[in-house]
Amino acid sequence: MEHFAIWIAAFLTLGIVSFLYKDNAWYKLCEAIFVGISAGYWFVVLFWDNLHGKFWMGKGEDPMLYVGAILGILMLMRLIPKIGWISRWPLAFIVGATAGFYLINYFSSDVMSQVGSTVMPFFSTGYGSGVNASLYDIIGNIVVAVGTFTGLVYFYFSKEHKGAFGATAKVGIFFLMVTFGASFGYTVMSRMSLLIGRVDFLFGDFLGMIVQ
């Protein structure tokens, strides 16, 4: 059974990789299998975890779950064109609740804490800790301050980017480019890891060419 699974996995891996040569029927078959299995998998997971695991098993203890169930049924109304507008109510609830849910935490973690970490004294490692920063920390603090300031200047479009203002914005572009470059480098590493994983599977589990 395990060998059969390995053969299927190899067939699908090679089918997807075959797209690198050109679009073909094998690739399309593998793509369709992936989409179908994903949809089926998530349907089963959501049914057992949400509908059965949470609502059906917990409805006796928490009557509020019925509210969720009713909103869920209202969402399905979009399948009936005449009363499809009803599905906007649960959608509005989801949008509003999610926005409210995230608002405080995002503001606290992604705004206040981030600003606090950025506005640092150059020569110390924290507020009230005196002059205790190493040369490495000092350079880091300066780079963060300059990068943040020039980056913000670049995104200020109410004034024409000319003269000293334009030069500062250009430094901001430099920082942005370094950021994008680092991001691209990490992305390449991530994608390579996936390829390594598949090649390792093909040579190891499938062809048995790797001796552990």
Binding site: N50, S109, T187, V188, M192, S193, L195, M209
Partner: protein
């Protein structure tokens, strides 16, 4: 045999690159399938003929290592496997390494997942990689898996105040209040350290937003490389350290072997993957140079015409 294989592979790859570079100087363009072929060779050769490099833990990785290393024995650590098979090649090695490190130091581990697919990978890690090295460790006493619970970011938002509300039982339906690990653990605020492994949503960011910051719980993250740059702004105040992609995993494995030599014989997928990673990056950099040469020569020719 391995060394000969490595040398032949390197000659083949770099010889080909030199030939392509020479062709680019003459204005010849490179078919994209040639690029794919070279990337494949650069990845396949070090897998067939293992090529390893020495890794030294950088400060962002060492911070996580030192945290695990310096926690008192018996501390409770939560490890959340928030990833799917697509992320597994780069995230699973670091999850395995940190799990082993925690068990070696005598910490109690609570395993869980915010992703449905994470639970299967967690079970695989436990049975195939982590537990075989620690036959003396007991389920429910030294470690426990409470599995996956639907609810995305709602899960950490609830367990910051009450773990049992979201997880009344472990994966084997054992009630949490009868599990020794949970004797003094009511919420995530009682944990000594949390590490989230992932790269999607919900994942490390949600742990920072809903548990680390509001609860003051130390958080470490092990992430797929593609999201690592998004984690750096949280250093060092909101996360104590980051393991970014397979490089982070390799650094952690190397530090683990350095400090605990008993792990020298363990499987080190992170370190092994650095060979193909390095060679593939060199090939990509070579193609960036070749691409620029072709571009600038083409532009100069157009200007002449």
């Amino acid at each position: 045999m391995d060394n000969i294989g490595v040398i032949i592979s390197l000659i083949l790859i770099f010889g080909g690159l030199v030939a392509l570079f020479y062709g680019s100087l003459k204005g010849r363009e490179v078919d994209r399938r040639i690029i794919f072929l070279f990337i494949f060779l650069a990845v396949a050769a070090p897998i067939l003929f293992p090529m390893t490099f020495e890794e030294k833990a950088t400060q962002v990785v060492k911070s996580v290592f030192d945290k695990v290393e310096n926690l008192p024995e018996g501390s409770t650590v939560l490890l959340s496997f928030d990833f799917d098979p697509a992320m597994a090649p780069e995230v699973q090695p670091m999850a395995n390494a940190i799990s082993r490190h925690c068990l070696e130091k005598g910490h109690k581990i609570i395993f869980m997942s915010l992703w449905a697919t994470g639970q299967a990978l967690l079970s695989q890690s436990l049975s195939e990689s982590i537990l075989p090295g620690f036959p003396e460790k007991q389920n429910l006493v030294d470690y426990v898996s409470i599995g996956y619970k639907a609810g995305n970011e709602g899960v950490p938002n609830v367990i910051i105040t009450d773990i049992q509300k979201m997880f009344p039982t472990d994966v084997n339906s054992v009630p949490l209040d009868s599990i020794p690990i949970f004797d003094n653990i009511e919420s995530c605020k009682d944990l000594d350290f949390i590490v989230s492994f992932g790269g999607g949503k919900p994942g490390p960011k949600e742990w920072i937003l809903f548990v680390g910051d509001p609860g003051g719980v130390p958080i470490g993250v092990g992430v797929a490389a593609v999201v690592a740059p998004q984690m750096y702004p949280y250093l060092p105040d909101q996360v104590i350290g980051i393991l970014g992609g397979v490089k982070g995993a390799a650094e952690y494995e190397s530090e683990l072997i350095r400090v605990h030599p008993k792990f020298a014989d363990m499987d080190t997928p992170g370190l092994l993957m650095m060979g193909p990673q390095t060679l593939a990056h060199v090939v990509i950099m070579a193609f960036i140079v070749i691409g620029n040469v072709v571009f600038f020569r083409g532009r100069r020719r157009e200007k002449k015409e």
